[in-house]
Amino acid sequence: MQRFLDPAVLASISNLDLVAKTVVDGFVAGLHRSPDFGFSQEFAEYRAYSPGDDLRHVDWNVFARTERCYLKRYQGETNTLVTILLDASNSMKFTSHGVTKMDYARFIAASLFYLANKSQRDAAGLIVFDDELRNYIRPSARQGQLHRLLSGLENAEPRARTNYGKPLDYFQNLLRRRGLVVVISDFYESPDVIVKTIEPLRFHGNEVILFHVLDPREIRPLLGAPSILIDLETDESLEVTPDYAHNDYVQKMDAHIAALRDRARASGMDYYLLVTDKPLDGALREYLTIRQGKF
């Protein structure tokens, strides 16, 4: 099953629904635990009926014996709200081995949606952004929500540049209700700017996870000769040398990753680096850990 978490394998599956199902089932099977992990149907308590409660939850057997109305409560009732913020800027188009960062981000988002919606009965929503808010699907646990989310993911093609400020200002207003916010991006911005922009979400009581998606060649570039590189977002070109790419650039990138991780954790946010040639289970495990511990 582990091979179904390999991005190269998933890239050959065109149906995002199938990708998500494959990943999640594979991941869950790999845990050697119940597929209903986290979603409890176990009885928790009885609560006396008060006017306004949903009559569907009344335990009619108890009413028949005692002629009193009690509501039956389950552990799984503590549902949460999962919102994924997906960066769809041009830089997410980059790939060095067949799976673009955007594809990888889609796989993660789809898998999380599947896990949340099917297994956890969480309400899930999606925000696609670049320098503008491109698409917003309101969090919901209703029937058909998963298809809406996956459709939103499939339509999220990379374009334009990244600008965290403008869209985040907008969806701070959308995310009034506390929940889990997952930001999937390559975070080509100063760590201070990123954290300052996303931090307000945390203030509203949300749990925030930053999934930092990078291609392996972005971390360790492979440059054989002096080359001209073109920025995917700005179309700016630059002649760089292998010597610089193999030394100075690597140091700068490592420093950027370390700074972003430290700044995020200092602000109470979780940070997770995802490299696109690695299996997806790391991201899912991070989600479930937080989901289990915090809600």
Partner: protein
């Protein structure tokens, strides 16, 4: 300095290829998209300078490899005088020891002159001794040890081989490829004209070999010889056997010579023969009275010339009783035994005697007493005789069956076993007759007769060939001659008669050779050859007779084959004149008389102008040999090839380029 193949220099234009790759394509870089240049900085100047330096060194190395390769193909050389090369020359002394060197004191003179050349050489000069017969025999390796070299010259003995200057030139061409120093070749020979190659081109020596000739014979000496002897290898009736000999004289006056026929050391007959000046005469002996078994025979003349070794010609004969052949025919058929007996008597030199019987007389006959059995158009056989014949064939006997009009009435061919399909009377069917369409020339029965083109067949029986071998077919594809192996024996089937009624075969010239070969084939005897020539090869075994030991005893009484060679050698080269005793792989004993090539008896010498042409000099410098023996060779320009050194440089440049290029490529690997 020059180039042997200057056209290859045009390949220097290829040098533009690395220049184009290195300089013109240097700046073509494909832009690569990258997600963000946020962490990159522009860095170009220093790296380009470093790269250009590296490129230029790599470029110069590649250009050097290419130009050196072209130079090597152009084959450069420099002219070096012979004097400058004398210190590293090879002095090669070749003494002719062919059969003609037995004349007078030729070989002793040649050895003496060779020793004189050895004494005159400088002590530092390497010398090598070889002997020239039909092949070149290496007697020493290149050496400066005078003792070894003198001993090798003294050990040269006369041989019976025929000299060949073509072989000498071929050996020199291969030697010059392995020896890179100049070779000074001294040839001590009688310069016999017959030793020249058919084409003068085959005698041309390579440029690195300078030839110095030491002729030991100036004029052709008169010589008589027994040029050839025509004698049968097998004798059945001594009184009917004749021996013919041809006596030749080369540069001789007209003379009368006494010719003797000697058998086992005893003179059996003598004849006087008149030989014209420089001509030849033949002599014939009417009988060859030899005892049973092998006899050593020779024809000898009293020549009193300078080459007595060629006054005798050896041959070996074997005497045995003629073998009987059983011929079975119908009582009414008197023609076929007549024709068959006549053919057998004239063909096989009385090797067989025919015993013809009627079918009715066969009841008590034992076929095993006969060399083979002939069934000529037999309608029916007594069952006892047929059974005896079947046993005889399965045990290794042979039968020839001819099917005439009587035999065609049987449903199947006796002994042969195959069914008779139909019979054709071509004379009644409009064609009148048919000829033979195709024959299998690999079959011994038709080997010499080739196609029976003129034979007319008026009648033939169509027999199902089955698993038999069809040797000949008529033009309508009817098998006319079939061969079949049954058990250890074989049966040959002629589907027409031997009586001159169903065909005109008995009257055709091919009938006699057919009967001759068929008789030898069915009886298992092959015709012996009474004498062979020196350097010819003798077949010791056939392909089927592997791992059977053979035995060869040479004229000196020694066994030249080792145990391994005796069990595996296919052929043996006869290198000496005399009688060889053999025990072949098929168990047969044999005696072979071996004579030298008679071309060696013609002691005519090569003209001086041809020898000058061979040396590559003007005819006038006949005194060159004498001056050379004093160690003072005149100045001579010789091309000295340089391609070997160019190739070494090329190898060095290629290795350097590989190391440097791999170092350059190593930068392109990702840092760990």
């Amino acid at each position: 300095m020059g180039f042997l193949t200057p056209w290859f220099l045009a390949g220097a234009a290829l040098a533009g290829l690395p220049v184009y790759i290195h300089l013109l394509r240097k700046h073509s870089t494909n832009p690569q998209p990258f997600s963000s240049l946020m962490f990159f900085e522009r860095r170009t100047q220093s790296s380009i300078k470093h790269r250009r330096l590296r490129y230029l060194l790599l470029l110069s190395l590649r250009l050097a490899v290419l130009l050196l390769l072209i130079l090597a193909f152009a084959n450069p050389f420099i002219d070096r005088s012979s004097a400058s090369m004398r210190s590293d020359r090879l002095l090669l002394l070749i003494v002719d020891n062919s059969f003609s060197m037995r004349a007078g004191s030729r070989l002793a003179d040649a050895r003496r002159e060779a020793l004189a050349v050895l004494d005159a050489r400088r002590p530092a000069d390497h010398a090598q001794i070889m002997a020239l017969g039909s092949q070149l025999h290496v007697l020493t390796e290149p050496s400066i040890d005078p003792g070894t070299l003198r001993a090798a010259v003294d050990s040269i003995a006369p041989s019976d081989a025929r000299g060949s200057f073509g072989e000498l030139a071929t050996a020199m061409r291969s030697l010059s490829e392995s020896v890179h120093t100049p070779i000074e070749l001294h040839l001590f020979s009688d310069m016999q004209r017959s030793a020249m190659a058919a084409s003068f081109q085959e005698m041309v020596l390579p440029p690195s070999v300078s030839l110095v000739l030491h002729p030991v014979a100036k004029d052709p000496a008169p010589n008589w010889t027994v040029e050839g002897v025509n004698a049968p290898g097998e004798v059945w009736d001594p009184k009917k056997t004749r021996v013919q000999a041809v006596i030749s004289g080369y540069h001789t006056p007209a003379a009368t010579r006494t010719v003797s026929l000697v058998v086992n050391g005893k003179t059996m007959a003598t004849r006087n023969v008149e030989i014209p000046a420089g001509g030849r005469a033949s002599v014939e002996f009417d009988s060859l009275d030899v005892p049973y078994g092998f006899s050593r025979c020779e024809v000898r003349i009293d020549s009193a010339d300078s080459l007595p070794a060629d006054d005798v010609s050896l041959f070996a004969v074997e005497r045995s009783d003629p073998r009987k052949v059983l011929f079975v025919h119908e009582g009414t058929d008197t023609r076929s035994p007549l024709y068959f007996r006549s053919a057998l008597a004239s063909a096989a030199e009385s090797a067989f005697t025919l015993e013809s019987v009627n079918v009715d007389q066969t009841a008590n006959l034992q076929p095993s007493k006969y060399a083979f059995v002939v069934l000529s158009d037999v309608l029916s056989l007594p069952s006892t005789f047929e059974n005896t014949l079947n046993t005889y064939v399965k045990g290794g006997g042979s039968v020839l069956i001819a099917l005439g009009t009587a035999g065609s009435r049987r449903p199947s061919v006796p002994i042969f076993g195959n069914n008779v399909l139909e019979s054709h009377y071509y004379s009644r069917e409009g064609e009148r007759f048919l000829n033979v369409g195709e024959t299998d020339p690999s079959h011994p029965s038709v080997e010499k007769a080739e196609r029976w083109a003129g034979v007319k067949f008026y009648f033939a029986v169509r027999v199902d060939p089955g698993d038999s071998r069809v040797v000949a077919r008529l033009s309508d594809q009817t098998p006319i001659l079939l061969d079949k192996s049954i058990g250890e024996g074989r049966v040959l089937l002629l589907t027409s008669g031997l009586d001159n009624l169903t065909n005109d075969f008995p009257l055709d010239p091919v009938f006699v050779p057919f009967i001759d070969q068929t008789a030898r084939y069915l009886s298992g005897t092959e015709s012996r050859i009474s004498s062979r020539m020196v350097d010819s090869f003798l077949q010791l075994r056939s392909a089927k007779e592997q791992a059977v030991s053979v035995e060869v005893v040479d004229p000196a009484g020694k066994r030249p084959l080792s145990l391994k060679e005796a069990s595996s050698a296919q052929t043996y080269q006869l290198t000496q004149a005399g009688f060889y005793e053999l025990r072949l792989a098929n168990g047969r004993q044999d005696l072979v008389g071996v004579n030298p090539d008679r071309r060696e008896s013609n002691l005519d010498v090569i003209p001086a102008d041809v020898l000058s042409l061979w040396r590559g000099k003007a005819p006038a410098d006949t005194a060159q040999a004498a001056t050379t023996t004093n160690g003072q060779t005149p100045q001579q320009k010789n091309p000295f090839p340089l391609w070997w050194y160019v190739m070494l440089l090329l190898l060095a440049a290629a290795v350097t380029e590989s190391i440097f290029a791999s170092h350059y490529l190593a930068i392109q690997r990702e840092d760990p």
